[in-house]
Amino acid sequence: MTFSEWIAEPVNWAFLAMAIPMVLAALRVVTSRNVVHAALFLVLALAASAGLFILLSAEFVAWVLVLVYIGAVVVLFLFGIMITRAPIGRETNLSHNTRWPAAAAALGVFAVTFWLINAVTEQMGGFGDPLPAVGRATATGILGEGFINRYLIPFEAVGFVLLAALIGGITLARKDLTPAEEEEGARV
């Protein structure tokens, strides 16, 4: 399929309308000079990815994303940021000197996830037929069964990789205190 054929499909316009803001917002999450702005750009990125799930006719997954991630996780982020320290305006010390290792690790996680999904599905003999859609949306029951039966192993595998990535992220970002500093902290 050439690009001109691809762009002629209206559904691909919708895809671009979701994907481009999503990528830009995701970039702003890590480049923004204000923590609250970063969290708000994360909302935008998550909302756009919910839109992508709707394009895939997985309506239930889209609204789970909105309820759990936008409605709970980001709200907790914002709550945590605001209850500790959230100055308005630009901050100077947001960047970390381990940013290049972090970028390499992020690329690595992406590569491993991509490889893992491909490898596992190849082992299973491909993704199989798409789940049957009723009308325009896949029925929630069918989605649940597909998720627990057919796609359980790829899902668990990806979940494992993401957990490892989370632990790696914390390791990269945390600042280890020297024993003297720890004592200082304990006294305060």
Binding site: E59, W63, V66, L67, V75, F79, M82, I88, A139, T140
Partner: protein
Amino acid sequence: MSLELTFWWLLAIKLAVAAAVVPVIGMVIGYAEMKLSAHMQSRVGPYFAGGRFGWAQLIADGVKFIQKEDIIPEEADRPVFKWAPALVMLGTMALLVIVPVHPSPRYGIVRDLEVGIFYALAISSVSTIGVLMAGWSSANKYSMIGGLRAAGQLIAYELPLVLATVGVVIQAGTMSMQGIVSAQVAQGWPFVLTQFIGFAIFMIATLAELTRLPFDMPIAESELVMGYVTEYSGFRFLFFFLAEFANMFSMSVIAATLFLGGYGLWGINPETLLSPIILFAKVGVLVFLMIWLRWTLPRLREDQLQTLAWKWLIPIAIANIIVTAVLKVVL
């Protein structure tokens, strides 16, 4: 081409109706609140505007708000400050999509989503972000504390709200709003008879989600000026104001649909045009209940609020789900 044109026209009409419905509902409920609270306190309330009964009071107020200057504080984070009311309004307007006023899909601007009730709970949680944005970006300590209180409260009461609806979903076997109403119409009695605990928890959690008394700590005027709306003026304030009343309406619609049988009533054919009237009558009763409670109960303390949600409502809601699920399998 003609098909596409009708689609876009229809979309434009639906958007226009949705945009008109929010202020109309806001004004009707706002007027009801003014008048009812006045009479509960042996006052008269709005009296002169519009000739009799002060019926035009809210229209006059709306015009006043639109005329006012749109002030943005010097130290505020301008884009966040400007977008916060829009986000609150988005959560409110999107709720109206799934209001089932009639069994036939031809009437109303309704779209019957398969994930109905789940969509409603998900989209209404977006408003929390708007409240936090408003609180933070105002660069005002009162706003900030109000925003934080609101977030803590909305996180705590989101859970009982969601859990309270699960019992109904188990009983009806569907999440679609139309499906839940038709299940109640088919069996002839509303779910409130078996799910009374769920109904009570849902209404308490709704009051907390709407940050109305006895749960209005986020805008507690005796402590925090006006909480997260302190710095807002003009039409941005109007957005918060209308969103609160429109949310009262849409949460009451959801409660009426889930627990009180929606547009169904004993002995009345739901196919007639009486259906929307029946639904709005039930909504009216629930809205009256909310106003009544607001002007009756004193404000809770912050720790009492959290205790109520985490130690009482959530365990009871989970127990309710377990009992409902077991009975559904056994019976």
